[in-house]
């Protein structure tokens, strides 16, 4: 199927006309005029409004739910509870998913849905929620994962046994989902060789992805059971298949259309209100619109994993890191799925270390189930890892970047998880950091500078897409991967480059789930890379077809036709004397040749190119208040080849400010009652424009040899070293090492005080 593509890796000598420029993105126009349709901007005929009743308790048995009064309220058309979802065995994938959507035996966090109502107005729906009587048997709860690991901690699931546990406790109920070790070399021997050893503990609190678009959806279930679902999602096909898994609806009967996506960052890779809307619509026999409030988003959708980390690292005097040992624990909420393995693998990927041991625990507790967020689990672990790297460099007396350079991985290195790196740009990135203006300029008086180095794997995976040529010679692309920040435009640009036509002659649109085969989620920085492969493959198929049609029309052999800049031409004067034929001329005559020209590809894309970044940050810390001002921020990153530089810069800058939020402010704060205390944007404070400086970018381009345009992926790498770089900057500014995220004013004040004492 894709041998066309496989024959052609990246061509370093190509001269691009479209790729590498920064045209206005096509979806931008409707976004600056207010016409773009985000999830909440849709309405359906006869639409009802749905609302969710959520648990006020972090942990309780749901003894009974009486909905009779709510059902009798005029205007209420449907009330649903656990009874409206088929039983799925607890502890299985479907069992967990259905219980996250709607509580069954127990509620596991404050905000866990227990019932939902569809009514003719929002006011009536809310009134009905108050009439639902839930009888709870309140249970002891546990919020923190380290506490949840202790003997005697309240147990969430009686059935849970630790995967990977041995010994006497292996068969006891526990909150530890998994104990996992990843190691290489001989850790004891490694430390024996070290001249300097640093050992520290770190912790981090969960932050929320913080997308501005509240989750909203409209579900319409027809009388024969067909489901039409409109929603904001990074993963339409995944939502569909999960609906099938928990509701026993044939996938062919579910059509999901993604709206414009108002931010996701990983948080919209799994559904929340969508199955409830489907169930309400099925019961009410009408379209149901549900929109979360901000408090519901913060309480009811997944933040990231809070963590604890004990890290020990050793190096020789010459700067060689010889051993790194860590013990990491990850919150996952009440159910497994933190993706902690990312962190286990990525903690040291920048460096060639002979002896490594990384022990991880994934732990359930009474918090909302975590969800992905740009490089899931990695930035909060790199926070500690890059802190000890900096401390090692300082202890040895080496320049921080030289120290990193000395240990940097390069092409040919095999990682601890078995990947052999092809062309990677870590060394180029560190060199570029050394040469950038920020690093070369002196640290301003009273400030501290921090450096950290980050990594993300970048991903590929299952991707499908079609492309068609219209009779006027313009090109349509149908994509399966959600567009989270401009990937439609990058696809159009790659297609325009292939055809040698202006990008305005190409449009990319997002498919519904009936239009294409399965597409994996837009996550892992895989979309521009993977769908880009599909687009290039389709374009090359179409070019082949254009040549074959031209050959037919000229009555010459196919090899006698070449394609260049939008035209089919005779390969040489020997072929004959023909005027070049445009895409339009050929495609307007398809009635006389073999019918319309289109192409279609399904791939399980491999060959993603890992990405590396160095962040350089200058901070100033107010000694009286503990307030941190970020004064200067530079991201140096290997982006592979850039399709649209302005979009790549935007990804990097956005990630830097998310990192600033995570580093300095954002956290989930729980009261003694196990309830979230800051479920609103006033108290869950994300960075605003006046909190941050301009974000400078230095983009290195080491092309990924496995992609026709040398692409890597830029969505996640730029978040990974952010909190660490800021932490290092603060440590250098105040002379003590902060070890807890976020590094908020009260914590820093206490730290400075204890250092003085």
């Amino acid at each position: 199927m894709h041998d066309i593509l496989e024959k052609s890796g990246f061509n370093p000598d190509a001269n691009y006309k479209v790729v590498g420029t920064s045209p206005i993105k096509h979806d931008g126009y409707d976004k600056v005029t207010g016409r773009a349709k985000f999830s909440a901007d849709a309405f359906a005929p006869g639409m009802l409004v749905g609302k969710v009743l959520r648990s006020p308790h972090p942990h309780a048995i749901v003894k009974s739910i009486d909905t009779s009064k709510a059902e009798k309220l005029p205007g209420v058309k449907a009330v649903i509870t656990r009874e409206d979802f088929p039983e799925k065995k607890a502890g299985t994938g479907a069992g967990d998913m259905t219980r996250i959507a709607m509580a069954r035996e127990k509620v596991y966090w404050e905000g866990h849905p227990v019932a939902a109502v569809a009514a003719t107005s929002e006011r009536i729906a809310k009134k009905a929620l108050k009439l639902i009587e839930v009888d709870y048997e309140v249970l002891p709860f546990v919020i923190d994962e380290v506490e949840a690991m202790q003997p005697g901690a309240p147990i969430l699931h009686d059935y849970l046994r630790t995967k990977g546990a041995t010994g006497a406790d292996a068969d006891k109920p526990t909150n530890i989902v998994e104990r996992s070790v990843l190691k290489q070399g001989d850790i004891e021997k490694g430390f024996a060789e070290a001249d300097v050893v640093i050992e520290r503990s770190f912790d981090s609190k969960p932050m929320h992805q913080g997308y501005i678009e509240l989750q909203s959806c409209i579900a319409n279930t027809s009388d024969d059971g067909q489901v039409d679902l409109w929603c904001c999602t990074q993963a339409p096909w995944v939502y569909r298949d999960r609906l099938t898994a928990i509701m026993d609806i044939d996938s062919s009967k579910i059509k999901i259309q993604q709206s414009e996506l108002g931010g996701g960052f990983g948080g919209k890779t799994t559904f929340y209100i969508e199955p409830l809307a489907v169930a309400l619509s099925r019961k009410a026999k009408a379209a149901v619109k549900m929109t979360m409030t901000r408090a519901e988003v913060l309480k009811g959708t997944g933040p990231v994993s809070g963590t604890h980390a004990k890290i020990k690292i050793g190096a020789k005097k010459d700067g060689t890191i010889v051993a790194a040992q860590s013990e990491l624990s990850f919150q996952t909420g009440p159910y497994t799925g933190s993706a902690f393995v990312n962190a286990q693998q990525a903690i040291w990927t920048r460096y060639d270390i002979a002896n490594v041991e990384t022990l991880c625990y994934e732990v359930v507790s009474n918090r909302p189930k975590v969800a992905s967020f740009r490089a899931p689990c990695v930035p909060q672990i790199i926070f500690g890892a890059e802190a000890v790297i900096t401390e090692l460099a300082q202890a040895i007396g080496m320049d921080e970047l030289d120290f990193r350079l000395k240990n940097a991985v390069a092409k040919g290195h095999t990682t601890i998880y078995g990947q052999k790196f092809d062309e990677i740009g870590l060394i180029e990135t560190i060199e570029a950091a050394k040469n950038c203006d920020h690093y070369k300029s002196p640290v301003p008086e009273g400030q501290g500078r921090g450096i950290a180095c980050g990594f993300w794997f970048n991903r590929g995976g299952e991707t499908t897409g079609t492309m068609s040529l219209a009779p006027d010679g313009t090109v349509n692309i149908i994509l399966g991967t959600a567009d989270v920040a401009g990937s439609r435009m990058s696809m159009a640009m790659m297609a325009a480059e292939e055809f040698g036509i202006p990008v305005d002659r190409v449009r990319a649109t997002l498919a519904d789930t009936n239009a294409l085969g399965f597409n994996r989620v837009t996550a892992g920085s895989r979309t521009t890379f993977s769908s880009g492969m599909v687009v290039v493959n389709n374009a090359r198929q179409i070019i082949g077809e254009l040549c074959s049609r031209a050959a037919k029309m000229w009555k010459v052999p196919e090899e006698g036709v070449i394609f260049e800049d939008g035209f089919c031409r005779p390969a040489s004067s020997n072929v004959g004397d023909f005027e070049p034929m445009s895409m339009k001329e050929i495609s307007s005559k398809t009635t006389y040749t073999m019918g319309a020209i289109s192409a279609h590809s399904e791939m399980n894309v491999t060959g993603a190119g890992p990405g590396f970044a160095v962040h350089i940050v200058d901070t100033e810390v107010d000694k009286e208040t503990g307030f941190v001002a970020v004064k200067r921020y530079t991201i140096v990153e290997d982006a592979g080849k850039m399709i649209s530089p302005i979009q790549v810069e935007g990804q990097l800058q956005g990630a830097a400010v998310q990192a600033i939020g995570w580093a300095l402010n954002e956290e989930y704060i729980y009261g003694a009652d196990g309830r979230l205390q800051n479920a609103g944007f006033l108290d869950y404070r994300m960075p605003v424009a006046s909190d941050v400086p301009m974000i400078d970018t230095v983009i290195v381009e080491v092309p990924n040899p496995k992609h026709p345009y040398g692409l890597r992926g830029v969505g996640e790498v730029p978040l990974t070293p952010g909190p660490a770089a800021i932490g290092n900057a603060i440590a250098n500014a105040i002379g003590v090492r902060p070890t807890s995220l976020p590094m908020s004013p009260p914590k820093l004040l206490a730290l400075m005080k204890s250092a003085k004492a």
Binding site: K25, G28, G34, E213, E260, G654, F681, M686, V688, V692
Partner: protein, 159 residues
């Protein structure tokens, strides 16, 4: 049945009337009654600025205005920013300079930025940053937004 209030208002120069429940906000009226969905809801508590509109010439969070309070007011929204088929310089600069990624914050930010530049086209970086401090954007890191506003101001000064 709760009593509904009759509300008449002008939006972008056009007259509208609707019946609003007492708890409804101007944001609800714009979006759900008038189907002018360019104005967004990000929090409904006045903390994100996605719902920014002009009410009688003042920059306002429409989620904090009750519908009956909008009676007789003149409201300007993102839908009225492009005039006579021409994008406003702010809209043009946001497109050219990538002042938007997902675009959900964009209408609110454009309305707020216009309110500033109308009075002060030569606002500097810090003034723009503080003026827009009520408008959350999670995607861009603000860099390109601030630059686009400065560039639009430059152009408006010249106009």
């Amino acid at each position: 049945m709760s009593k509904k209030y009759h509300v008449s208002l002008t939006v972008n120069g056009d007259e509208y009337e609707c019946l609003a429940e007492p708890q409804m906000t101007l944001l609800d009226v714009l979006r759900d009654e008038l189907k002018l969905t360019g104005t967004k809801e990000g929090c409904a508590t006045g903390d994100c600025g996605a719902c920014s509109v002009m009410v009688d010439g003042r920059l306002t969070c429409s989620c904090l205005v009750l519908a009956p309070e909008a009676e007789g007011r003149s409201v300007e929204t993102i839908e009225g920013m492009a005039k006579d088929g021409e994008l406003h310089p702010l809209q043009q600069k946001f497109l050219e300079m990538n002042g938007l990624q997902c675009g959900i914050c964009t209408p609110g930010i454009l309305v707020a930025a216009k309110a500033l530049l109308d009075r002060k086209p030569d606002a500097d970086e810090m003034e723009i940053r503080y003026w827009l401090a009520g408008n959350l954007c999670r995607c861009t890191g603000y860099d390109k937004i601030i630059r686009a506003v400065m560039a639009a101001g430059e152009e408006m000064k010249g106009a």
